[in-house]
Amino acid sequence: MTINFAAVLPYLPVMLKGLGISLEVTVLSFFIGSVLGIFVHLGRRSPFAPLRWLGAAFVEVFRNTPLLVQLYLIYFGLPQVGINLDPFWSTLAGMTLNNAAYTSEIFRAGIESVPTGLLEAAGALGMRFGQTFRFIVFKPAIRNVLPALTNQFIVLFLFSSVGSVISLNELTSALADLNQRTLRTLEIFTIGGLLYFLASGVIAGSSRLAERYLFRW
């Protein structure tokens, strides 16, 4: 079979629909996971020992096991204890927990990178804890780790492809189905790769814009 990209273009709407689901599950799991990650990190700094252990255990479990294994456990394993989730919610749950583990470590790096001298200065100026945290700790910490967070967002987006194994109809699953139907492997996966590349490029670009305009000193 000769290479023929035009033969694959009619399937672009199917691929875009899959891309939409990939993006949807990524955006939701990133933001929910990041918020969860902040709480996990705060838990690890708490004076309560059980809370520290729980936080540490959570991070170790979800960071040191593959997402595929986590998704299999959630989708096929949980029904054995009575919890039955559909592919979208299973993928969302798995990616959220996975992301929370990774971002809690990223936030730890960010918060620890703020010099303690700044905190002491804030205290000397009479700033309340809330003000200190928001202006002196949080915003500079995020600015420091924005590249790491962008990385995490893009990696999470690319990992959404693992959802295809538990029958989620995202982009990779659409590509695999089209490949079986038309056998035009090179054309389909080139266009699919291009779609992933462009979407990741948009994420990276908007992160750079945010760095320049939202997180200026």
């Binding site: 989708y75 096929f76 029904p79 054995q80 039955n84 559909d86 592919p87 295809s164 194994v165 538990i166 029958s167 699953s173 695999a176 189905d177 490949n179 079986q180």
Partner: protein, 280 residues
């Protein structure tokens, strides 16, 4: 100086590319002529050995054990074929990609490797009459409202992505909702955990899954949409083809094919195949 070197390199690459295309386009599918002396049949009888390509990883049709020996339904058929010729049997493992190349490079005389005789494949390989048919069966949880194949219409059905069952579902049951998994075990897990209403897989697989799990049930007989499985040979060798066809017809008529099928697959030979052995 540089342009001359580049020109020489380009000339070498171009010649190489052209000769490669010339090689790959050459027809290499023709077997011996129709003269009995040139036929593969004669070659096998003279050599005293029948070389058969079989699958090593498709139980119970054919599987290679850890000690190197083979066993299975198709292995027994290969043994009968060798006995009918009065020659020794040599089994050569193959896979989906190498079935035709093994014939073309004369490393095997015949393929008995669960080879489905599709129209597309028949344009490049020679197929005998079928000796087996693989069809689909439906797997579902006990208590589901499924009494016949038609009941899967409108339900969510798990299939292995790109398999013949995937095609059967999309063409014969357009109202059913396909849920595609990469692995056959995932199809069975999805039915077991209630993620889908039913699963469509090979009739043998669903029968075994229902037997192994008391919460599952299956409809597998007669198999849905049977795909005909034939022995594969090179095109053009009519004498060899005739012998194999005669052998298969006699195997079916004597009931031996059905006996082997029951022994390994615990279900009778599909009627679309066994009808070939009926007296006219």
């Amino acid at each position: 100086m540089v342009t001359r070197k580049l020109a020489a390199l380009a000339a070498v690459l171009l010649t190489g590319a052209l000769s490669l295309t010339a090689c790959s386009n050459g027809p290499s599918n023709s077997g011996g002529s129709s003269s009995p002396a040139d036929s593969q049949l004669n070659k096998v009888l003279k050599a005293g050995t029948l070389r058969v390509a079989v699958l090593p990883d498709f139980p119970p049709w054919a599987v290679q054990k850890s000690d190197g020996s083979f066993q299975g339904y198709e292995i027994d058929i290969a043994k009968e074929l060798a006995d009918s010729l009065g020659v020794k049997l040599k089994l050569v493992p193959t896979n989906g990609d190498s079935r035709l190349p093994l014939l073309q490079s004369n490393r095997v005389d015949v393929n008995i490797s669960a080879w489905t005789a599709t129209n597309e494949r028949a344009q490049t390989a020679g197929f005998t009459i079928p000796y087996d048919a693989h069809g689909a069966g439906v797997l579902f949880k006990k208590g589901a409202d499924i009494k016949s194949y038609q009941d899967i219409a409108g339900k969510s059905v798990a299939v292995a992505r790109g398999s013949t069952n995937d095609t059967i579902l999309t063409t014969d049951f357009p109202s059913a909702k396909p849920v595609r998994f990469d692995a056959i075990t995932d199809v069975i897990s999805a039915v077991k955990t209630g993620k889908v209403d039913a699963g469509l897989e090979s009739s043998y697989t669903v029968a075994q899954a229902a037997k192994a799990d008391s919460s599952l049930d299956a409809i597998s007989s007669p198999p849905l949409d049977p795909q005909l499985v034939s022995m594969g040979v090179l095109q053009g060798d009519q004498v060899w083809m005739n012998y194999l066809n005669t052998f298969i017809r006699n195997l079916i008529a004597s009931g031996e094919d059905n006996k082997l099928h029951e022994k390994w697959l615990h279900e009778p030979l599909a009627s679309i195949v066994s009808v070939q052995g009926n007296a006219a």
